[in-house]
Structures are given as structure tokens and as C-alpha cells.
Amino acid sequence: MEETPHRRRAHTSSRDLARYAGLFAARTGVMRSSAMRDLMAVTARPEVISLAGGLPDTSTFPAGTFAAQMTRIAQESTAEALQYGPTEGFAETVDCILEVMGAEGMLPDPDDVIVTTGGQQAIDLVCKTLVDPGDVVICEAPTYPGAVPVFCSYQAETIQIDCDEDGMRIDELESVLARLDSEGKRPKFVYSVPSFQNPAGVTMSLERRRRLVELARRREMLVVEDSPYGLLRFGGEPLPPLYQLDGGDFVIYVGTFSKILSPGIRLGWAVAPPPVMEKIVLGKQASDLCSSTLTQHFVREYFGERRWREYIAELVELYRGRRDTMVEALHEHFPGEATWTEPEGGLFIWATLPEYIDTGDLLAKALREDVAFVPGQAAYVDETRGRNSMRLNFSGVGDDEIREGVRRIGKAIAEQVELYGALTGEREIAAPERAAAPEDTTADVLPFRKESSA
């Protein structure tokens, strides 16, 4: 007689848990704060206006086109589309990738390209190939929040270099490299999102791009250029990618179809010098053998229609409008002491509030008003940093929701600013048009603040 299958029993005791805990690899020990994870879980409620995600707007993709393409795949290539494919990806997919990179002035050798399961896997594979526990990895401060857990899980010692409006501070990078030299350490790579950075929204200047590439050449140091948004430029002159400036000797390029077509198809790519690529391919084979053949067929069909640049132009129009809406709303609703970036492309604005506001706590307050954002600490390996900053996404929701969302966050901030004024006697600071209160206005209240805490 056949046994009836039954549901797996949940862990029943802390002893069970301890038994598994003894088996966990050391790399699982590096965890983010659970309180913050719980908070982020609440942002998924349907009534919440979420400026927290990194979602492109997929609602504008024409359903008819999608249906026709998928039908054609079924009619013409069912067997192949449902089969395994090569680890490096189909040659036809690589052709599409070359087209996208060509649009930004890059011309890699097709043999240097591997199709990955999203840009995220490319970052993972690069780390898998290059990073041993304790190795130094350098990235921007703030950096892409999704890269932080990757660096952590390979137990890298991550050093973050400050950004300003021209991107990563190369002078700071140089002094960090000099310090590492003196410690006998050689960083495995410098990770950068040079264009419309996630989360800061800033773009690395041409001068700094040149310096970074030159530095990489001189020191024979690898740079990982992650460029999901390069083609999503709303204005200004396009800047050459690091890969183009370097010619592909020391720059590993990471790209993705997520932001120019769809994140649901989970297709990205990496371009690396042949010896590195060889190891990346082995790493990918071990990870998942190959990326989805079905969605690679979709990409081929889609690029075959030769409309992909028009679609990007539509997205650029849409996102430019939404960025403008968000910037306008920030001017209207955020306090005078707040600053924010005004990106020329991409999906994100990075706002920085007065130091006494912790955006993790602010998120709890904002959630009561049904609005969410990403607290800045998610973009730092050291969770005590970025505490008064936040990432705001403008691509995933419509103009009305952007306005309303920013209004609600602004209201929560205003309440905290006002309260701080009441607590410290620095009420004047809250008024945007006035300069900061002179030091002596606090004299008759309490010896709070202004003096730094010992």
C-alpha cells in the first residue's frame, strides 16, 4: 500500500534549531538586523505607497507584443525553448547584449560575454571567482544595497569610499589604496555603479572615470562596473562607460535586461577578460548550469522586432516625468535642512536629513501613514552609517502616488524636526527660509546638543 505523503513537521524545539545551527557555514553568520528586516516586511502591505522598491514600470510593456512573441516561440521553438542551454548563454542572446553595449559605445569580444541570471548573479559570480574570506573589496558609500549581502556572504572585508555629486571620491580611493599597500593588502576589486548610482543617484564625472581606469591599469587592479541604468539617461551628455575607457583589460562589466526590458525574465550578463571569464563560467556551471532558455528566446524575439530602443525612449520619457514630480514634491514637502540628489537618469533619489533623524525609526512612523522608503543604512556594510539618509524610488509608481508618498514622508519628518526644536530650543532651524539659529539661543534652555557628546 502506498504511504500517504504528509506535510513536513515544523521544527518543534530549540534543540532542533541548535542542531541545524551547528551545521551552518560561517558565511551565514553575517546577518542584517532582524528588526530592520521585520520593518521592511511591513512595507509589502498593499495599501502602502512604496517608494522603497527598485521596480521598473513593466505596465507599459505592450501585452499584445508579449503575447505574439511568446506564441511565436511556442510555434517555432518549443523543444529548444524548454531545453537546457549552454552555460555561457545562446550566441543570439550575446548578439542582443552586444547591441545594447554598442548603444553605449562598447564593443566587447562576444567570447568575453556570459549570460547570467540577472545582474545580481553576475555580482555573485565575480565574488565567487575572486574573493576569499578576509579579502578586501572596495565599493562606494553608499553602495547598491543588494551588493552588501553578496560581499558579506563571501566574507569580504568591505571598504566603502564616499561619493559626492561626481561619484566615487577617487582621492579617497587613492589614500585607502596607499593605506592597504602599507598593510600589505591588495584589494580584489573596486565595485562601482558609475552611472545614476543606486542608491545615491549620482554619476561619476568623466575626469574621475579616467582616473579610476588609469589607477586600475597602473596597479593592475580590477574594477567591476555595474551598469543597469546606463541607457536610462534623461538629460545631459552621455559619458563613456569605464569598460570603454579601459578597453576591457581591467574592467569587468555587469549589465542587465532588468531595467530596459523586464526584471522578471531574470537575464543579465558579465563581460570579463578571458582568464577571469573561464573561472566565471565554471562558477556559473556549478550555480545553475545555464540561465533560462525560455526567456533568452523571448529576448531574441524582442530584439528581432528592432523596437527596443524606442521602448527605452518611452521609459526615459516616463521616468524623467516621474523624477521631476518627485523633485518638485521634495521641494514642497521636505524641510529646509534636507538635501537630495537630482539624478540625470536611473531610478533613485537619495535624500539626507538632519543628523538627529534616524530613517529606520522614521520608516516606522511613515508606515503608520502607509508610505515606505529604504532607510540609508541598507546601503552600508557598517549599519551605523547612513542613519539619516533614505533612498526614494521614482520609477515604480505613478505621479500621483509619488506626490502623495513624498507629502506623507515630509509630514513625518516635519513632526520630528519640530519636536527636535522643542527639545533643544532650536525651533528656528525648522523654518526653511531662515539660517541656522545662533549658538546662544540654546543657552537658557538646556545644555543639550551643539557641544558634541563626550
Binding site: A10, S14, M31, Y356, L419, A422, L446
Partner: protein
């Protein structure tokens, strides 16, 4: 028996609640009960009325589920439910109210002052903060009055850290308390049907006594159960915990968090509906008492149906 498991809801502790709820559902099914799983939302009353459960297992934490709101609805609908009643929940969730009750009933709790936002915004309460140094000393704890986890809880080492800590706490509630910091061993006493279970001690793994977020994470905090306590210590701790449980009018089960200081136990708070996840303290305590999770769930249910059995 048909049991509705209430979980989730809108509180900031939604994530923990979903985990508690899922685990309770598993246990109830293994015990042979029919489970109606309800993520508490706008259709809660409709679903309860339609499902007609014999009892409700409330596995909700934080504001909305642990503060008497859901319990009030269950009372109106005439559905017996697990854990403390409306009034006890309302007292436990609000640390300011709870500490007042504790003090009035002679249960030791650290000295505190409570402020609401209006006091600072409109009544110049900042000028009264000067009293704090003398009365409470530094460091002191700043906490939102309502809220179960470590969210918004800060330690202020000096004057300079008080305004930021207050802003943090006020992000979670319109009332906050400033509490004397008591150094000592951190203990949790789970009470089941009026009886204390073995005491759990939380020992920070990295030795940072001020990392309150770490309290809730396995790996960052070691939990010892039963805690190593002398006979007198155990007696004092148990008395304080049961005193707190009674003072707040709890029934069914609850968890009392306290510090064992040099001057004796000091009760910090009572969690009306403590976590029931696989890393939670109440299930650990029950296990140390020889009860499986199923037995614990069955006992909690039994207490809900026959309160006199307590």
C-alpha cells in the same frame, strides 16, 4: 475542535506574528483540530462570524493584536480566546500604564518618567528634563510606551543623547518613558496558567550589553534555560514575575521580562502575548519544563476554554 488562528495584522511585529501563527497552526493540526487561518485585516469580523470557530488562538504581537483591540472583538462575538483579556492586554502593551500598576501593587520596577508628545510640543516639557539627572541618573533608557520589540528603544549615556533618543522613541508612539537603567542579568519568566515556567536568561554573545536589537537574534544572544539561579534568587524572581502577572490581570499565559539587579529583581515589562516562533522564549521555557510545543499549545487552548482550570 474548530480553532481560528489570528495572526499578522498591521503591527510592526507582523513578521514575527506570522511565524508564531504558522507554528501554532501546525501544532493544532497535529493535535487533530480543524484550523481556520486568519491574517487579521478588514474582513476579520466577517470571517470569524462566517467561520464560527469554537475558539480563537490569538498569535498576534504588538499594537492591534496584543493591545486588547482584537480581544474586544472576540468578546463581542462571544468566541473564547487564548491569552489575557481586554483590560490586561491594554495594560501590558502600554509600559507607562503597566509600570504604574506594578508600582501600586508593590512589584519592583525601575523608576521612570513618562512624557507625551504634546508635553514637549506645547507645554515646554524640555525644561522639566533637568530633573532627570538627579532622579534617574545616566545612562538611562528611552522607550516608546507601546511596542513589544526593541524598536525605538535607546540607551542615552548623557544629556546630549536624549533628544535623538526621544525622537527615535516618538517615532513609534506618542508617549515615551525615560527609565532608570538597571544593570544586571536579563531574565524572562514565562507564566502559564498562573504558574511560572523555568526562567530563561539572555546573555549577549558579543558582550555588548547595550545592543538591544541583538536580544532577538539567535547567534547574537545566548539563551540559557533554566537560568542558573540560587534558591533565594529563584524565589525572588518568581515572586516578582507572578506579582507582575497578577497585578496586570493576566490570564492564560504571558511573559515577564525583568532584570536581576544587585538590589533584587526589577520588572521591565510584561508581554501579554509573547512570541511563539521556534526561537521564542516561552516555547523554550515550556520545553525545559518537559512540555512539547503541542502540549504547550493544547494547554493554552484549554486555559482559554476553562479559565477556572488556571
Amino acid at each position: 475542535m474548530k480553532v481560528a488562528v489570528l495572526k499578522g495584522g498591521r503591527s510592526l511585529e507582523r513578521g514575527v506574528s506570522l511565524r508564531s501563527g504558522a507554528r501554532v497552526e501546525d501544532a493544532l493540526e497535529r493535535l487533530g483540530h480543524e484550523v481556520v487561518s486568519i491574517d487579521a485585516g478588514a474582513d476579520l469580523v466577517k470571517r470569524l462570524a462566517a467561520g464560527r470557530p469554537d475558539a480563537a488562538f490569538v498569535a498576534m504581537h504588538g499594537v492591534g493584536g496584543e493591545d486588547g483591540t482584537v480581544q474586544e472583538l472576540l468578546e463581542i462575538l462571544g468566541i473564547p480566546f487564548t491569552g489575557p483579556g481586554v483590560a490586561a492586554c491594554a495594560r501590558c502593551i502600554d509600559k507607562v500604564l503597566a509600570k504604574g500598576e506594578l508600582r501600586d501593587n508593590g512589584v519592583p520596577t525601575p523608576d521612570w518618567f513618562a512624557f507625551n508628545e504634546t508635553a514637549f510640543r506645547e507645554l515646554g516639557a524640555a525644561d522639566a528634563l533637568g530633573e532627570l539627572e538627579e532622579r534617574l541618573g545616566f545612562p538611562l533608557m528611552v522607550k516608546p510606551s507601546r511596542g513589544g520589540s526593541a524598536l525605538g528603544v535607546r540607551l542615552a549615556a548623557s544629556w546630549f543623547e536624549v533628544p535623538e533618543a526621544l525622537i527615535s522613541a516618538f517615532s513609534y508612539d506618542s508617549r515615551v518613558l525615560l527609565e532608570r537603567f538597571v544593570a544586571g542579568r536579563e531574565l524572562a519568566v514565562s507564566v502559564l496558567g498562573g504558574e511560572a515556567l523555568p526562567v530563561v536568561e539572555a546573555i549577549p554573545a558579543d558582550g555588548d550589553p547595550y545592543d538591544f536589537e541583538a536580544r532577538y537574534e539567535i547567534g547574537r544572544t545566548d539563551f540559557v534555560c533554566p537560568a542558573e539561579l540560587g534558591e533565594d534568587e529563584l524565589g525572588a524572581v518568581t515572586d516578582a514575575a507572578l506579582g507582575a502577572y497578577e497585578a496586570l490581570g493576566c490570564s492564560g499565559f504571558s511573559r515577564v521580562d525583568l532584570i536581576l539587579a544587585e538590589e533584587g529583581p526589577q520588572v521591565l515589562e510584561v508581554n501579554a502575548i509573547p512570541g511563539l516562533t521556534d526561537t521564542s522564549l516561552l516555547p523554550q521555557a515550556a520545553e525545559a519544563a518537559g512540555m512539547s510545543f503541542e502540549e504547550l499549545v493544547e494547554r493554552i487552548l484549554e486555559l482559554a476554554l476553562k479559565p477556572a482550570a488556571a
